[in-house]
Amino acid sequence: MNRVINLSTHVLAILWALPLFGIIYMAFKDTKVEGFSVTIHNFIEAWNSAPFAQYYLNTFIIVIGILAVQLVTITLAAYVFARMNFVGQGIVFLLYLVQIMIPIELLIFPNSSTIAQLGIYDTKLAIMIPYFISAFGIFLLRQTFKGIPYELEEAAKMEGCNRIQTIWHVYVPLAKPTYIAFGLISVSGQWSNFLWPLIITDSDSNRPLTVGLAMFAKASDSGAQWGVVAAATLFVILPLLLAFFLFQRQFISSFMHSGIK
């Protein structure tokens, strides 16, 4: 019985890995020759046919930009919800909950016109701005902050720290694992974002990797060019896969962390 289960684990794992091996095979296969022979020609062609370096840079700026602002906004809000009392607390808390219920992705129609009204259509800021807060991050961090002994805050107060200093010296260091968890989730999520940047950008100087890939693949998706598209797909997923394989433990524990409420 146990052996059957072990075997099925392995079979399933191989099944799950097949698409990855498939795309790697396609990307390295020389289509001009019968049978299989390894070539990096596809990668060179893909790299030369679209500004992937620019796309990398754009994705990098967007992902880091979003995370940087998020860290500020969620820290402040999480602290308020964890430790402070104020008029209207209940209702405001509910407003933040709305964002958990209704993901921003569903609001592409009204948000695209808001972007237009702000006059920032086709900019990196337009891609980033709706994601400047994360209600999910706020609730995650609030939970952590609540678990930090109140005595520590009082001690900080005694030493003359104001609230900002208290947050910075007491809460932030102690919540480091939560920040890492949130950071990984935010970065991998934003790296993958597609529909919103597709809608809101027009130029190569702002397009992230995902949109660049789709545009590129559509332009060359004919003839014997599939190897090239496979290579371009690998461009997009490689950094994520590398990061994942290198920091697998952090990744998995981050996602675990976020699942426990």
Binding site: Y96, A217, K261
Partner: protein
């Protein structure tokens, strides 16, 4: 003195909330209200200025065959993806939670699809599904089934997309279950060993109930995902053939950006929002308090 303390706390609270509140209002709250308002107006290529038409957008939408198809497809899509990927997540978690050779590697393989973007996943599977080239067709021909144009047939296209999404999502839920499994106290399991309970009874009576909060949590996430992700449609099918793979958000996307029919897009957005609220209500009132955010 005390009053001024309280004042100060209030002011500080609001100041701290301000940065996040601005963006929350701009991109979540205000758009919802605006959409609700716009859904009462006709605003498309044939109108210069929006015209108030009451509930007619909703009426027209209900009569629109494409919308009905997208709605029904979305429900089938949800039914197809949610229970399967959550259940599979649980099974995978139990499998890799055992200390056997290669379980760490297996865990890696189950989880990597979660990390990669949906767009690239869609391209990968596009290769698999295309007749004449794709691996799936090579397998099918091996079994003598002949070639199948999976994405070109109304009857198979949605299933093909569901399979891909399950592949992509199951690992995500696996992680939640892994976390939950590792939190089950060892002595509970051991106690049942002493009682001589079989593995199956052990699972059914002890493990499964303890996993319930995770299951509900996963269900909620999977349901939201079933409505908010359409990247794969943009890449693979454009909702076709004949709308057989059209989903609600794709319908909104096309109405807004391809047909410039804003009234319709607003009405369809409202429908999706209502679905989301209903799901949230079920989560809030229908379940154990333990998995609340509060």
């Amino acid at each position: 003195m005390r009053i001024s303390e309280r004042m100060k706390e209030n002011v500080t609270s609001w100041l701290f909330l301000l940065p996040s509140l601005i963006f929350l209002i701009m991109f979540t709250l205000y758009p919802m209200i605006k959409t609700a308002y716009l859904s009462f107006f006709q605003s498309d290529l044939s109108t210069d200025k929006p015209i108030f038409i009451g509930l007619k957008n909703f009426k027209m939408m209900m009569e629109d065959e494409v919308f009905r198809k997208a709605f029904i497809n979305n429900i089938w899509f949800a039914i197809g993806t949610i229970p399967t990927s959550v259940a599979l997540g649980m099974v995978l978690a139990i499998l890799v939670n055992r200390k056997i050779k290669g379980s760490a590697l297996a865990r890696t393989f189950f989880f990597y699809p979660v990390v990669i973007p949906m767009v690239s996943a869609a391209f990968i599977w596009l290769f698999f599904y295309t007749p004449e080239y794709g691996m799936i067709n090579k397998l099918l021909t091996l079994f003598g089934a002949g070639e199948l144009n999976l994405l070109g047939n109304s009857s198979t296209v949605l299933i093909a997309i569901i399979v891909m999404v399950i592949w992509k999502e199951a690992g995500f839920f696996m992680i939640f279950y892994l976390a939950a499994l590792q939190n089950i106290p060892k002595d509970l399991i051991e106690a049942s060993h002493i009682d001589g309970a079989s593995k199956w009874i052990q699972f059914r009576k002890i493990v499964f109930p303890l996993l319930m909060p995770t299951t509900i949590f996963s269900f909620v996430i999977a349901t939201t995902n079933a409505f908010k992700t359409i990247d794969q449609l943009v890449v693979m099918t454009q909702g076709g053939p004949n709308n057989a793979s059209n989903l609600l958000l794709y319908y909104i996307y096309e109405s807004t950006f391809r047909f410039m029919d804003y009234g319709k897009a607003a009405a369809a957005t409202i429908v999706v929002l209502v679905i989301m609220v209903v799901i949230a209500a079920i989560q809030f009132f229908g379940t154990d308090r333990k998995i609340h955010y509060s």
